[in-house]
Point group: C2
Chain length 129, copies 2
Amino acid sequence: MAAMIRPGALARELWRLFDEARFAEVEPLLAPDFLCEWPQTGEVFRGPANFIAVQENYPGRWRCTVEHMIESGGEAVTRTRVSDGKTHTFALSFFQVREGQISRLTEFWADPYAAPPDRARWAERRRAE
Amino acid sequence: MAAMIRPGALARELWRLFDEARFAEVEPLLAPDFLCEWPQTGEVFRGPANFIAVQENYPGRWRCTVEHMIESGGEAVTRTRVSDGKTHTFALSFFQVREGQISRLTEFWADPYAAPPDRARWAERRRAE
């Protein structure tokens, strides 16, 4: 049955559990040889236990809202707003799925920053996010 | 014929032109009502001309390498390494395509940062990117 779960549904379920701070419960979603890579730091977390430990030990209580998802074949990408109520960031997450489990996650963290004034003449501004 | 171009091919063509600093040449790839949003700053660039002006005026000469692409329906997502030979960043780009042109781009910029030592016990390190 696990093989029938689509990549986007697995990705959304992982984020739902993270949103509820139920980190250990993502373990069945992950392949035994699961590997997470964060290219911005060069860090690689090998295996579900290491990945879950990083989440459990990250300081703060972060709510996670998936704003967009696209999936194709054995892959899904999510765009997630992550906020502790004071500050926020965006997670851009590339999932690979194999036999109904997430085998690989390549993830980027994009923090807000101030818009440079030198390009203001070409920009409109959204409400503060 | 333009309507037959797939979203992923349009996205790759935009990045190829950016890689070659041929910014004005992306204009035919963009819908007249094209809109680019950078959620990290809240900036919105409305119309091809504003978007192209921002690229043309961004300081430095940046090479762009698409490392991954997934597409589904009228959407594509690219993961692109952008480097001026001294420093680099990652662009995470969500394209929406309508009738063979890019109608919307929601884009995030993820800079490298130092891995916090407090999670080193769970991490392996890739070669420096």
